[in-house]
Symmetry: C2
Subunit: 464 residues, 2 copies
């Protein structure tokens, strides 16, 4: 075998989670899950492999970021999901509610999901090709109660994770659609106004990255081909957009000023009204007003949003971008059913959030192991006793292991217990067997106590 | 979009888990995890995509059951893991312990992992192409304490899952290697004795499926090509194998009789001694002797086992085969390092076990949702109040949702709460707002109580 040694390496963009990271991440995921479930979001899981047609649908440009599977066993090409939203839409389409049989999914439905998604990018430093997303979506209602709930979850999740300084930015695609009308975007030859509008939103979304002036310049650049959706806005339109993005004041004031800008552009007025409702509802849920910022520059990258959009920024780590984003999308299920279904939802980039919280010092990696107590094996021919001690400790609810080190000297086993991060060691040698006692060593305080053998369990019941 | 509707279907062999299944499966996984962690098995996670060379190594025949990824971004081919053991070996090879820096993995190490693995089979009814495996392995010790711990975990896991009738079958590859010597297996032209022995084990492993006589016949059939490892055993060898497989008695008696068979075949004697040690150790851990059966026909399919092998059979559902199997393998890490590392481990086929327990009626799918309380929205313009009630309930540790149904009649919302499986409904209409009360309806007992609004939380603290 030695001639054929394989390097034990991972492809770029894929992570291992060894115990300290795994346990810290598990804690974070548990905190998030608790918040989501407290709102009644039901967990589901969909496969890691789907038909390519399910994932890519009728669009062509998403297909290139999807990992495709080589399979000679299937008639249809297979691929790996790049998000949880498309499989959610498939689940909804495949399980319509039947009131008589009481089968299928009764809407409205809150569902959560957590698991890895995949992007077929070029491997490069800091870019994940596999990363966990934690999603919460509500399908089957147009009510802004649902969108408000997403905002509330963002707030409560950040709070539960111990993040002190964050801001939830809120906007509405309907207002941006109004902006496209204001900017006089219309069909241009082969290019539809709708596509030019989406391109405008994609460009607006870059303000954080490249700044306002570069965004405005990009909005003015001329199309390079007859099919280029470049907005190519007029000087007049740019003046209006600049004024719109410059609206200042409290959330209420901004919405009022925004109302003045979009008088009689009904789609924008609808969008403004929806944001007002969301602000009212989150107040009802006890979310402090200052946690949320109406920000008219927020567009969110994805094409499929149709209403309110929202994202969460860590104020002390803005370089990580949005760690928890979402919005309303009403068209996604129509890929499968031909009919619209109102839905709103959100997604946490778990690995990005974990990296950001680590950067902020908010992640505790102190736990190296799940084991609490290690039983040292000091006397030959006493293994049955050591095994029994560990079994007793387990029976009392502790995580306990016998030391399996080949070098069974006290020194080595004790050192092993410490470097592996155990909390307690049970030390029982010849003397202790004779006097029917054990030494319990607290490896954090270094305190050691001699306990009668038959009271060992009680000691831990008292300590913990 | 409607012209281009995509069928909302999954590829064959892949499962969706909707809430009732998800929640029942989550409970099962939680039970297993608790047992594993109580023994100090530390959780890790490895990526869902690895280099093909990592997974397939120098062997060629496993490669065909691996899903390969199309990627233009990588120099090396990528693929999807078919088990957790090979990535575990990669992790061990990539993280050697450095005592000075205290980095890397200090051995011996117990690690657990749970997650999906994938087999690129032809889709057919009942055969999963994605399924969860829950693995526990111990690396870095040759001690039979480790193998005994695996047997103990099998027992305690089955017990914790409420399985009444099961049997853990135990054998040792070393005894079967002794059997190969007894059967006079040797190099034959191009075919190595070792490969013929492995083929013998693969055939022996089919006794449960095809019966003893067919197995013995297969062991006698002639090789079809010069490279066929068919054992082609002599009549004399078959007589010996039949006698060996027919050894009867208690575990101790079987081992004694087996010792008579293999006098002076030292590898088999070593194997017998290892099994004796395991039986002693599990007794020390309080595992009842009758839970374990020495069964000399057990070989386990995988090539890489080198010592004790074990598997768990549900006596009331034997058709599901082994639901929890494992064994010692000392050579797997050498793929990456060129050197052997002793290891032993086990794997639960989670989806098979879930199917088997469902078949036995041991899986409770009663939970449809995580929500415990639904707040009905009966009065217009009172949404802020309903939102606040739900928020209060959450604050008190309940999972609570406001009803989002478009049809806000009492009848519809009440029906919604019942069909969605809620435990309680909060009913608060005009009268209740006037008297500052709420009606709490227990949807299981159908008991309804009027409670002062400001005592609602106390009601639930009392009830739950």
């Amino acid at each position: 075998m030695a001639d054929n040694v394989v390097k034990p390496e991972r492809p770029g963009g894929f992570l291992d989670f060894l115990p300290p990271d795994y346990l810290a991440r598990e804690k974070m995921l548990g905190t998030i899950q608790k918040i989501f479930r407290s709102f009644g979001f039901d967990p589901i899981e969909t496969p890691r492999i789907e038909f390519l047609k399910t994932l890519a649908g009728e669009t062509s440009d998403t297909g290139k970021n999807i990992f495709h599977i080589k399979s000679t066993h299937d008639d249809e090409p297979l691929a790996i999901p790049f998000d949880h939203t498309v499989p959610f839409a498939r689940i909804l389409a495949a399980n319509p509610y039947n009131a008589k049989k009481r089968t299928g999914i009764r809407l409205p439905w809150r569902r959560m999901v957590v698991g890895p998604v995949f992007r077929a990018d070029t491997p490069q430093s800091g870019r994940y090709r596999q990363f966990y997303q934690f999603d919460a979506d509500i399908a089957g209602t147009s009510s802004m109660l649902a969108d408000a709930e997403i905002v509330a979850i963002m707030f409560l999740t950040m709070e539960a994770l111990g993040v002190k300084k964050f801001k939830i930015r809120l906007n509405n695609r309907k207002i941006l659609n109004g902006l496209a009308i204001l900017a006089d975007i219309h069909d241009r030859g082969e290019v539809k106004a709708d596509d030019i509008t989406k391109e405008m939103m994609r460009i607006l979304d870059k303000i954080d990255k490249i700044g306002l002036e570069k965004v405005l310049a990009e909005l003015q650049s001329e199309p390079k081909t007859p099919f280029d959706p470049a907005p190519a806005l007029s000087e007049d339109a740019i003046v209006k957009i600049r004024a719109f993005l410059d609206l200042k004041g409290s959330n209420e004031e901004k919405l009022k000023l925004c109302g003045n800008v979009f008088q009689e552009i009904s789609v924008a007025e609808e969008g403004i009204d929806e944001l007002r409702q969301i602000l009212d509802y989150i107040a009802g849920m006890g979310i402090p007003a200052e946690a949320v910022d109406i920000d008219f520059s927020i567009a969110r990258g994805l094409d499929y949003y149709t209403g309110p959009v929202m994202e969460t920024i860590l104020l002390d780590a803005p370089e990580f971008g949005s760690v928890f984003g979402g919005g309303r999308y009403n068209g996604l299920v129509s890929r499968f059913t031909g009919a619209e279904l109102p839905a709103t939802g959100s997604s946490i980039g778990v690995d990005r959030l974990f990296a950001a919280l680590s950067h902020l010092g908010a992640i505790d990696r102190a736990e190296q192991t799940v084991t609490e107590v290690m039983v040292l094996r000091l006397e030959k021919d006493r293994d049955a006793d050591y095994l029994q001690m560990a079994a007793e400790l387990r029976g009392a609810g502790m995580n306990a292991e016998v030391c399996l080190a080949d070098d069974t000297t006290f020194k080595n086993q004790f050192n092993f217990a410490i470097t592996r991060g155990m909390k307690f060691a049970i030390i029982c040698g010849g003397n202790e067997f004779e006097t029917q006692t054990v030494q319990v060593k607290n490896l954090q305080t270094r305190k050691q106590e001699e306990i009668p053998r038959n009271e060992m369990i009680h000691y831990f019941k008292r300590e913990n």
